[in-house]
Symmetry: C2
Subunit: 205 residues, 2 copies
DNA sequence: TATCTTTGTGAGTGAATATTCACTCACAAA
DNA sequence: TTTGTGAGTGAATATTCACTCACAAAGATA
């Protein structure tokens, strides 16, 4: 395997375990109290140490958010890679990919919040960048699977690859949004998989 | 001030022209600087008068946001009502409805931001309520049109009414999101209508 | 003319905010 | 034994926040 295999080139933003804890706490606060609740004070309270200690691990509040988005992007990339199998038929590949992603969000609901909260940063440039990168990651993994399904005539060619991806992402984003504003009240894995089946019903030849 | 906002009882929250200007400015700021950029100071700067003058027209910052959401909900409702025609065939009704909505957002891009920004308020109760109401409004108008299309066998019955609506809303929300982070760089009416055609291709019998 | 009413202002206020400061302290390497 | 370090602390900082209030200009009204 080449050292420069596409999927592996993301640089290891080495994150300490403490930093990860803080990122988790950030997510938790965002989940419970929204954007305005995310203050260093609340973060310190959640971490059960002083406000100043936060700055031992991050240079600024913005950095925390950006690091969180990067971490999420990397983690999702890993999930997509892990769920990839050469053996399955292309439709099962899609089912597997989506299911794994749903399970991840079920287990880490606070990340569901972050994906939708734009306007998190004053300097929205870097945030948009990070959010964009998350969307691109998903697209990167989805694209070949859709293409394969189309080429074996399992999915329709009435819509382009890109259009089908948009459809999928739109439906899932909305479902995640509903999940979130419901207070994570239902089983996102179950409902999410149902939505996928719905779409497959439509795009299957 | 009693708020019995069942679907039909839209009380005329009489809004002055000055208030509307402030609401517009609010949307503009949200678009450009995100949630954290929305301060009374910035609002005053945008309005080109003093901070205290804002309080001549609204009692609090929260009130501005809530009033903005109400105004948006009412305006959208009006648009839906205006676009409704008894004569058209059910598919054209859908095309018309979506097109009118797209045109509205094209002309008022800053409102496109608001729809996605939850966590706008600390006291998120009323805001979430308002956002929920906007989504319900759309659903209220979409539902009978979808149902009619299904009942005349123009749209598939493989998916329920609700599932088709979810599909539509998901696809449009994502498209609006892309529009927004692109800096409103493309013609949302054109692309949006294309997306609708895509979906119709799939759900048409 | 005299007096409301509306809409603006400038100068404040206390609270909250992110960030910095000087400082401990346990621990480990030299 | 000395020295360096990572990880914590409480107090202090400057800034920003939403909001208040006494006051003024200008119409409308009486």
């Amino acid at each position: 395997m080449s050292e420069y295999s596409l999927t592996k080139i993301r640089m290891q933003t080495k994150i300490t375990s403490r930093q990860l804890e803080i990122i988790d706490a950030t997510g938790k606060i965002l989940t419970e109290s929204g954007v305005n609740g995310l203050t260093i004070k609340n973060l310190a309270k959640e971490m059960q140490f002083s406000e100043s200690a936060i700055y031992r691990h991050f240079n600024s509040k913005n950095e925390i958010i950006i690091e969180m988005l990067h971490y999420l992007a990397e983690t999702l990339d890993d999930i997509y890679i892990a769920s990839y199998s050469h053996d399955d038929n292309p439709e099962d590949k899609l089912l597997q990919l989506i299911n794994d992603k749903l399970v991840f969000f079920k287990e880490n609901p606070h990340f569901a919040v972050v994906v939708f909260s734009d306007g998190l940063l004053e300097d929205s440039l870097k945030a948009n960048e990070a959010i964009h990168s998350i969307m691109m990651t998903k697209q990167k993994h989805l694209r070949p699977i859709i293409a394969e399904n189309q080429s074996v005539d399992n999915f329709t060619n009435d819509l382009s690859e890109e259009e089908i991806i948009h459809l999928l992402m739109g439906v899932f984003r909305l479902q995640m949004f509903k999940w979130r504003i419901s207070g994570f009240d239902f089983d996102i894995v179950e409902i999410g998989n149902k939505r996928l089946k719905n779409i497959i019903t439509l795009i299957k030849k």
